[in-house]
């Protein structure tokens, strides 16, 4: 009775029952075809609340398609996906979900602050709440002093930070990150890693799409490896990486067959 799994909506969570966990994300035989190309082929797995989960795979494996289906950016050809215990096709499933896209873009004529404010307002926050949240987020992503300058003057790394900041607005319970450290320098990568670790400590569920296997190995609890749209393995990192192996070794071995 220590880790019972319940798949019910987040808002039905009975607080105080810390030993119970529930599915934050669930894929049931999810398949996505684009014409004759099968991007995701009959994939099933689940991610529990509070888990730090990594979805790994080579380029074109179908990772981003899975993320898109979770956010209802793309509809599955067959199978089903649920987020927060609700079908991903329902807008309410994205309640308390933060998302950072692979190549984060922000309108160049806005300032980072204005962008964060828009994101907060879209969550139905009052102006005052939005201002408070944005101030906190700017501090969290380490962009104090640059928040009021135009995005067109930002570097890729700075845009990525503001993208992450936007994903964190509204204190989400689930964070979906598609290559969050793609445009960051080593110092930025470390800062983001530390930030994500602190978020995990606060009980946030993190779904990470990444190529940086060394980073994943350091911080994630569980990982799934997919190739050519098929799920190869899903397990705890500690179970996947044995003896003197690294996650990279396991990854290469599994993908190359």
């Amino acid at each position: 009775m220590t880790n019972l799994i319940f798949c019910y909506p987040y808002f039905l969570d009975i607080t105080g029952w810390g030993t119970y966990s529930f599915c934050m994300i669930e894929l049931n035989n999810a398949t996505k075809r684009y014409g004759t190309l099968t991007a995701v082929d009959n994939v099933s797995f689940s991610v529990q609340a509070g888990e730090y989960f990594a979805l790994l795979g080579p380029n074109g494996a179908g990772k981003t398609t899975i993320v898109k289906m979770l956010l209802d950016f793309a509809r599955p050809t067959s199978g089903s996906l649920s987020v927060n215990g609700l079908p991903s096709t329902q807008a309410a499933s994205r309640n308390a979900v933060g998302y950072l896209a692979e190549n984060c873009h922000i309108p160049p004529y806005l300032s980072g602050w204005q962008y964060l404010q828009r994101c907060a307002e879209l969550l139905d926050m009052s102006r005052l709440d939005a201002m408070r949240q944005c101030g906190r987020i700017v501090e969290l992503i380490g962009m104090q002093g640059r928040e009021h300058t135009k995005v067109s003057t930002y570097s890729k790394g700075m845009i990525q930070r503001f993208g992450l900041g936007a994903a964190l607005i509204g204190n989400p319970k689930l964070l979906i990150l598609d290559e969050p450290t793609a445009s960051l320098d080593p110092i930025g990568i470390r800062e983001i890693r530390e930030l994500l670790e602190s978020l995990k400590d606060q009980g946030m569920t993190i779904f990470l799409n990444s190529h940086l296997l060394s980073e994943v190995e350091k911080i994630c609890d569980n990982a799934a490896i997919i190739n050519q749209g098929r799920l190869l393995v899903k397990d705890a990192i500690s179970a996947l990486v044995k003896d003197n192996d690294t996650l990279e070794d396991v990854f290469v071995r599994l993908v190359k067959g």
Binding site: K68, L71, A91, R94, I106, P107, L122, L123
Partner: protein
């Protein structure tokens, strides 16, 4: 973090659309062109015009010039609306706002409704403000208020809604420029067809048809003519109020009903199409 209610996200998306579009060069250029046009037209109100050797009285001149200006502004507003609408979805996609909005607990229909509302309000504001300037100029020159001018402007709002919805829908199906050209083509074909229709109903044309004696089947052409989006017809119906002709009768409402029906049909198709669209 609570689920936003239905209306606020639509209004917020509309507000962002409006503020983003005002920054577009095409909006600024068109606004400048229209302002120059109105400035130049101002001089026409004081001119002396002669038709068949007879000098037109000031009131007729003012009404004719106002009507002409009304049509130019309405057509300009439609052109601007089409220009702005054609890139709305692509710009939002490229700048990351589409995925940013739709990753929030906001339904796709709310996003599309917000976009339509934002652009419609912007184009309506653009057209109404220009019409209002002409209304003020005409009223000062005539020493009388012309409320029918503003009523006519209000009736043209539906044309702008049609343009927004049609360009939005077509921009999901084809390239942006083609979507713009298609809607432009719909407007031009409608205008030409109205001209031909009016010409064919003139006494001279009727007499020529009667003389040729050859029976011709116009049923199909008539059906196409009546079913074609009647943008120019709706504009003409609206402008009929300005000439002091009063309400032209219920028969002439048809173009307005036609446009409203198209807005409804194309709007439904737009929501359905966007619902199945993959977000990049």
């Amino acid at each position: 973090m609570k689920m936003p209610k239905t209306l606020p996200p639509i209004i917020r998306i509309a507000k962002y659309t409006l503020t983003d579009e005002i920054r577009q060069k095409s909006f600024i250029i068109m606004f400048a062109i229209c302002a120059i046009f109105i400035f130049l037209v101002r001089g026409c109100y004081q001119g002396n015009f002669m038709v068949n050797g007879q000098t037109l009285d000031a009131e007729t001149v003012i009404r004719v010039v106002s009507k002409l200006t009304f049509h130019v502004i309405a057509a300009g507003a439609m052109l601007l609306t089409a220009l702005l609408s054609m890139r709305v979805f692509r710009r939002d996609r490229d700048e990351g706002m589409q995925s940013c909005v739709l990753a929030k607990p906001i339904a796709r229909w709310q996003y599309v409704a917000g976009k339509i509302l934002g652009l419609w309000v912007l184009s309506v504001m653009f057209m109404f403000s220009l019409h209002s300037v002409v209304f003020i100029i005409a009223s000062i020159n005539l020493n009388a208020v012309l409320p029918e001018f503003l009523i006519a402007s209000l009736l043209c709002f539906f044309n702008l809604l049609f343009v927004v919805v049609a360009v939005f829908l077509l921009s999901l199906l084809m390239s942006d420029v083609f979507a713009f050209l298609c809607v432009l083509g719909i407007g031009i074909v409608g205008l030409v067809a109205d001209g031909i229709y009016a010409l064919s109903h003139s006494q001279m044309a009727q007499a020529m048809i009667g003389q040729s004696g050859a029976p011709s089947d116009w049923t199909w052409w008539k059906a196409v003519y009546y079913l074609w989006p009647k943008l120019s017809g709706a504009e003409r119906f609206a402008s009929s109020f300005i000439g002091g002709e009063g309400f032209p009768g219920f028969g002439s409402i048809y173009p307005l009903i036609n446009i409203l029906a198209y807005c409804l049909i194309l709007g439904t198709l737009l929501f359905w199409r966007f619902r199945n669209e993959d977000i990049v």
